[in-house]
Symmetry: C2
Subunit: 115 residues, 2 copies
């Protein structure tokens, strides 16, 4: 009998483009103020990071991240206001579902001697 579960949660308009990967990328951008620092931390290629981010933005219909390039500091990236709000909702959705899954899994697979 199984002893663990895995849950994947994506939210989208038409194409399932936003999930754990983009969420983690955004969390790291928020933390580090840099897109390149974020994808490097994840061990992700620049082209892949760019692609998953742009795909999610295209599907959702708004920008998640804005980059300001140049200047003395060499530019930076940050979440847009809409991106911040969206990420917060996804994180709460995700957290609630993780908790629900833990309880459900225990209910259906946690007491296997009872069958």
């Amino acid at each position: 009998m199984p002893k663990q579960f895995d849950i994947r949660l994506r939210v989208f308009q038409e194409e399932p483009a936003f999930g754990k990967g983009v969420a983690e990328l955004m969390e790291l951008i928020e933390l580090k103020g840099s897109l390149s620092a974020a994808y490097k931390e994840m061990g992700m290629a620049a082209s892949k990071a760019w692609k998953i981010l742009k795909r999610a933005e295209a599907d959702l219909g708004f920008s998640l991240v804005e980059s300001v390039s140049g200047g003395k500091t060499g530019g930076y990236s940050k979440l847009t206001e809409e991106g911040k709000e969206f990420l917060k909702r996804y994180q709460m959705f995700r957290k609630e579902m993780d908790q629900a899954a833990k309880e459900s899994f225990l209910k259906y697979f946690g007491n296997q001697d009872a069958t």
Copy 2:
């Protein structure tokens, strides 16, 4: 903002080998009494069906499907008792999670004017 979600749920011992695909295959085997009828219905190659089934069995540590070959009827496939019980639990787990996700999604993404 997203208008829909997608949830993937896998249960396993060590490797995430059991999810929607094997569950659907098992449901169709139960319905049709035949592994080949089941994977054909899914538009799945025989080799793929065999592989996902055997991988799930290997990970879970018990047989999900038993096939009786030969005889006048040309053989058939059916779920093992353990497979039946396991599938039932997975279906209940899945159903409960689908319902929880609907409610959570509505909660976090359903009332976007409120922000």
